[in-house]
Each structure stands twice: as structure tokens, then as C-alpha cells.
Amino acid sequence: MKGLLTKDLLTIQKKYGLKRLVMDIAIIIALMIVLEGTGAIYISFLLIPLEVASMVISLTTCDEQWKWGKYSISLPVSKTQIVKSRYVFAGSMALIGLSVALLVNAISYFCFPAYRFGFYLFVAIASFCVTLIFLSFTLPSNYSLGVNAGFAAMIILVVLLVVLGIWSKLTDNAIMWFIVEHFETSMGIAFVSTILLFALSYALSTTFFKRKYV
């Protein structure tokens, strides 16, 4: 699995590179300056999950272009390991996204202290969960129907997320009553559900990948 992870890491390094990293940092800084306190929310809920999901989609695009799937099966790695390594890589990217979200939210708290610190911490953790949810849908879509399906799944999730945000704002968070009233319980449920969803997604992807080569 070490070799497969190295391949994915090298691919992302080459596809994204320093330019993309500088661009991402510039976008984050711009959003934080322009939107002040709310900037961290947009970065955490949209920018980071989208960036991580698009990295994983980009890997799938490269694999399809190079017909890597066919070659990888001739290597001394099992089909399960091939899918597992992609999930480990995606999970690692999500953890890096969490670190970025924590950093951005901590800076936001000190520069634009609109809310309590706990709120910023919650946003960072929620960002990690949203990233995992994005990955949970895009990865099996990639394995079952190809890279376009993964991209479509990502777009649908973005639209749903935006609609949810607008709806919540229009109803003054009325649709979030359960979360507001049972904050800690709902956060626990959300976190565990997200992890379970990610695990289910892995099982589905493995099945789809194995079915591809029957």
C-alpha cells in the first residue's frame, strides 16, 4: 500500500503544485479579510471540502487517463488494498483539511472575535465531517460510474449545502431546532454517522471496484 500512496501523493504534487497552494492561501486570506468573521464558515464548509474532493476526483481522472486500474491489478496488491489506499489517502487529505480549518478558525477568533472560541472549534470539526461526507459520495460514484459521476455527486452536494444554508438563514435557524436544543448529542450523532457513512462508502467502493473486473 505504501507504493500506491506514494503514487497518489506524487500525482497530487505534480497536478496541484506550488502555484495551486499559493492560490489557495491567497483565496483563504482574501475571504477572511473581505468576509471577516463569517469568512471562516465559508472556508470551512465550502472551500476545504471542495478542494479535498476535487483532489480525489483529479486522482480518478488521472487513473482513467492512464488506465491505471488495469495495470494495478497485475501488481502484487489486492483489489481491496487498491481501494483502501485511495481511502487512506482521501482520509489523510481530509485530516490536512481539518488542520487548515482549525488554523483558519483560530486566526478568525483572534482577528474577528464575532463568536465564542467553541463555535470556531465546532466549525472546524464540522468542516472535517462535511469533507468526509463529500468523499463518501464522490468516491463510490467514481468507482461505479467513472470520474464524471464523482464530479456530479460533488456538484449535487454543493447545491444541497448551499440550499440548506439559505433555508436555515431564511427560517432563522428554525430547521436546526433539534441541534440548537440538543447541541452536544446532535454533534455526537453527526460525527459518528459521518464516520459510519465513510466506512459504508469504503465497502461500496470495494464492491464496485471488484465488480468492474469480473
Binding site: 507504493g3 500506491l4 492512464w66 488506465k67 497485475s74
Partner: protein, 287 residues
Amino acid sequence: MTENILEIDNLSKDYGDFVLDRVSFLLPRGVIMGLIGENGAGKSTTINCILNEIQKNSGKVLIFGKDHISDEIEIKSKLGVVFDENHFPDIFTPMEIGKYMSGIYPGWEWVAYRQFLEKFELPKDKKIKDFSKGMKVKLAFAVALSHKAELLILDEATSGLDPIIRDDVLDMLIDFVQDESHSVLVSSHIISDLEKVADYITFLHKGKVIFSHEKDDLVDNYGIVSCGAAIFDTLDKTEIIAYRKEDYQYKVLVKNRNKAAKNYPKAIVTPATIEEIMLFYVKGEIQ
């Protein structure tokens, strides 16, 4: 160490419109076997079943004496595979390919890999997308030969290459089997190449093995009898494998050309090439 590096017994795969039908052959150690047949004969399906890229319906595949599914990882660590197209990330350089391959193959040898890159005159730090097709094939060989592989499987790996690169590839195969524990299974359309290097020929036609013989046996014994209708009528039909009727004569493929020359002195008997044997089976009328 088992005598046969690869044993295929009654391998079947049913696609509905195509059936790989009870394919059986043995590949001994220290030899090169050519897998020949027309497009759609089942060569790639056979190789894909061996590699477990597709699931067989029935049959047995033993590589190094072990089942190709239950001991898949162990087997594949001693297997080198070269396909007809590049499967390496084309934004990588050969050194970057080596970097991740060293994490995949437990027996990866950096020294051997660097030597192969030098021998094949492949630039270590140039992106693969800037390589010619011949260079890409050579890189695939460098990877396939740098992890102590004992069996090389080539699926149309030489198609589209110029004669000089093909000749280099054939030399590599001959070098590889100098170690008598090594073997090569090579599927190719270019029969003339196989005639140069193969020790065994396995011929597939419409999903079935027509024959799997030593090449020398085919080349030394098979022959083509050219004759008119009168002699054709007198031929012993049990000796005829296939025949083709041409404008003014019959051409008949026989298994024993010396016997045919002796029995029918008025007919012209010539040795049959592998390509001619294949053409007779595919296009001729079978007795």
C-alpha cells in the same frame, strides 16, 4: 521448484457472445511461449484470466505451482507484465515510477532498475509523456525486470513498434530466459518475431486451443502440399489438417511433410511457416 511455471487446465470464460472454451496448456521453465491467434481468438481473455483481471467461470490456473487466486499476491510479486500501451502516469519520470514501484514490489532492486534505464538509454528525469512508444515499452520492461520476476507476461507488447525496437525487445526476452528458472508468455500478432524467439507456440482460435506444441516440431514437420485436383483426390484425408482451393491448384496443410513428399512424389511439398499454419487453420477448410 515446479517443472512447469504455468499450468492452465480447462480454463473457461463465458461472455455470452464469446466463450473461452476449456483452454489448457503448460509452460515449462526456461522457455518462451508464443500465444497466437487472430483478433478476438481469446489471447487477451486468457491472459486476463491468468492475472485474475477477470473471473474465470471454471478451470484451474497454477503459477509457480500455486493457485492464481488464493496465492495471488505472492505470485504477482514474481510476475512481470507488459501490456500493449503505457499504463504509467505520463507526468512522472522513470525515477518517480521507481519510487512508487519500490513500495509495491517487495523484491524491488534499485540497482537493477538503474542499470536497465541506462542499458535502454532512457533518461531518468524526463517525463514519460515526452517518450516515444518504443521508450515507453522499454520502460515497462525495465519495471517488469527489476523485481526478481520469474515469469514475464507480454500482451501484444511489441505491436506498433518499429523492427529495431522489436529486435531489442526480443533480445531482452532471450536474455531473460538464459536463467532456466525464468519463462515468458508472449501474445503477439507478429508471428515472424515469435518464430525467431519462441520455443513453444500455442494457437488459439475462436476461444479454443488448436495446438500447443514445440515450435521446432511445427517448423520441422508441418508442410504444404501444392497439387492439382487429381492428386488432391488421391490424398489420404486423415493426413490433411486443412486445405485451400486456389485458381489452378490445391494447397494442403499436412502434419508430416516428409511422409507426404514420399507418398506423393508428383506434388510439390514445402515447409510451412507458423503464419501459414495459422492461416490454414483460420481460413482453410478443415478436414
